[in-house]
């Protein structure tokens, strides 16, 4: 809104923003500042003496093979989750966008997993894949696959990816469907009149027009895979076996809350904050561009 303000009160606007600013200050700015402060300090194990160490904590962190492993794992995990969840959701959205009989029922049945917590998705899949009672696990063992995700790191990784993707597909489906519905029908008709096959229409017309949605979802899915999948990992594997499913957020939690390594976990917080800010910034740059040129 440009031009003169609607109201001229002096005090009222401050009272209106006060609740938001108070909560933000106490539970956001303060802890974030604490994290940054702790990240450049080091305390002895008894918390008696604390001294300034500059970037030492980060140096230690990035030369720690376990942390480097967690970074590699997080990126691999994010790539797997994002790629599969986007492809499956796009396929389902394109199919559900067709004028089918029962399309509304289909859509409803594809949306409901949005309501589930990541940890709940993990519990549902755990029940199927628990090595001695899960019916899918038993079936796998029946055909000669030694299924036991509590011992096999690769299987554990597969299972957390599966549960994470399963929960994410609905979210992506909602956005892809909205994106498809926003594409003018006349455009598709024109392409078809020109004799393009449906495959050709999809890759040359529909998919490029969906780019903004795809990009938005790419960023959201990456953030989900890095941050929100904590619940999936905690309920399914607790980061194990070994460190096979210990992502950056899970390691931050274990080091800070279970091992009381306050300074190291603070440094890990700062690394993750930087990562999330970077992702958000990239996204806003892109959206700005879209507003200008589209």
């Amino acid at each position: 809104m440009t031009g003169s303000p609607v109201f001229k009160n002096k005090l009222l606007p401050y009272l209106l923003v006060a609740p938001q600013i108070a909560v933000t200050g106490v539970f956001f700015v303060w802890p974030a500042a604490q994290a940054i402060q702790q990240a450049v300090l080091r305390s002895d194990p008894f918390g008696l003496r604390t001294r300034f160490v500059g970037l030492e904590n980060f140096k230690v962190l990035f030369s720690d093979p376990y942390y480097l492993g967690a970074i590699r794992l997080s990126f691999l995990f994010a790539a797997a989750v994002t790629l599969v969840a986007l492809s499956v959701a796009l396929l389902l959205a394109v199919m559900a966008h067709r004028p089918l009989r029962g399309a509304r029922v289909y859509k409803t049945l594809l949306i409901w997993p949005y309501a589930l917590a990541p940890a709940m998705a993990a519990v549902l899949w755990l029940f199927l894949f628990q090595p001695s009672i899960g019916i899918v696990a038993r079936a796998l063992q029946g055909v000669g696959i030694a299924w036991n995700y509590t011992l096999d790191g690769g299987q554990a990784f597969f299972l957390v990816v599966l549960a994470s993707v399963w929960k994410l597909v609905s979210y992506n489906f909602i956005f892809f469907l909205a994106g498809l519905q926003a594409i003018p029908k006349s455009l598709l008709e024109a392409a078809r009149v020109d004799g393009a096959s449906s495959r050709r229409v999809f890759w040359s017309v529909v998919f490029p027009l969906l780019t903004p949605t795809t990009f938005f979802l790419l960023v959201m899915n990456t953030v989900y895979a890095f941050i929100d999948t904590f619940g999936v990992i905690d309920a399914l594997t607790k980061g194990g076996p070994g460190k096979a499913t210990e992502t950056m957020v899970y390691k931050l939690f274990v080091d800070g809350y279970k091992n009381f390594q306050i300074n190291s976990s603070a440094a890990q917080s700062v690394v993750l904050m930087a990562l999330v800010i970077l992702l958000t910034a990239v996204q806003f740059r892109f959206i700005e561009r879209r507003v200008h040129y589209a």
């Binding site: 303000p5 802890p31 604490q34 949306i111 309501a115 899960g134 019916i135 909602i174 306050i262 999330v276």
Partner: protein
């Protein structure tokens, strides 16, 4: 003919997709209708058993079976419901007020406040979890509803959404209300809020689900089993997830825990889709 074949293919893809989405839910339901021994032997049938009523009553009233110590579902449900409602309503109130100030007033520090709110969009609770825990503990908020709810009221999504909505309110409408003698708060309650009803409904669904599904924060902040939310309660029941435990009760609890947010999403599906797509902008 080609059209028909393609539609057949679309039906097939959608049915397979829906099948994969529904299968774990169906098996959870099946698991909640058998007794623990049947499940523990690893021979779970694909059809419902005869223990449904007793499993659900047991989970609802006691939450504890022979091999698992839990909290009654009715207590955890009440906790989750209180938390989800408080977060949804609280966030909406806080962000409506802030957006109203930012859009309709000019005051020193307005841009600064806007950016401060915007900044919170970038940093999820998880990445600053340990210092946030320390703040909550210093303020004596551990094991309290205030501790569960207050830190989760920080989010910029709502404020940004309402800012977009408020910017579309025609200026003439506000001027007319002013001429009729209405003050800023009166206009907020009688003009702005009614006009924003669709967005309020949309955000309510999103935030209710968000609140119900909180995991890491309640896990840290509450240690008293009486304070468990249902999502936390189920994962705690699982523990080391061994074969011989009361899977029937865990699954009955799971089905009840899913029921509430799924019902909210299905009933308010239209608003959810609208709200999600709008927050993207």
């Amino acid at each position: 003919m080609r059209e028909l074949r393609q539609n057949g293919f679309a039906h097939l893809v959608l049915l397979v997709g829906i099948g994969i989405l529904l299968f774990p839910l169906y098996m959870a339901f099946i698991g909640s209708t058998h007794d623990a021994a049947t499940i523990g032997r690893g021979r779970l049938p694909l059809t419902p058993g005869s223990h449904m009523v007793e499993n659900y009553l047991q989970a609802w009233n006691y939450g504890t079976g022979e091999r698992v110590a839990g909290t009654p579902v009715r207590i955890m449900m009440a906790n989750s419901l209180a938390m989800a409602l408080a977060i949804a309503v609280g966030k909406i109130v806080v962000s409506v007020l802030a957006a109203y100030a930012v859009v309709f007033f000019r005051f020193p520090g307005r841009t600064f406040f806007f950016w401060l709110i915007f900044l919170t969009l970038m940093l999820p609770l998880e990445v600053r979890i340990i210092p946030s825990y320390k703040v909550a503990s210093d303020l004596g908020l551990l094991d309290s509803f205030a501790g569960l709810i207050l830190p989760l009221l920080v989010s910029a999504t709502g404020t940004l959404l309402f800012r977009q909505v408020f910017l579309t309110v025609p200026r003439e409408l506000l001027d007319a209300a002013k001429i009729d003698g209405a003050g800023p708060l009166r206009i907020l309650v009688s003009v702005i809020v009614p006009l924003s009803r669709p967005s309020l409904a949309a955000l309510f669904v999103i935030l209710f689900v968000y609140g119900w599904n909180q995991y890491l924060w309640p896990l840290l902040i509450t240690t008293d089993p009486k304070m468990n939310t249902i999502v936390i309660g189920i994962v705690k029941m699982l523990g080391t997830s061994e074969a011989m435990m009361d899977w029937n009760l865990v699954m009955a609890t799971t089905v009840m825990a899913l029921g509430v947010p799924v019902a909210v999403v299905l009933l308010l599906q239209r608003w959810l889709v609208k709200g999600l797509v709008e927050t993207e902008k």
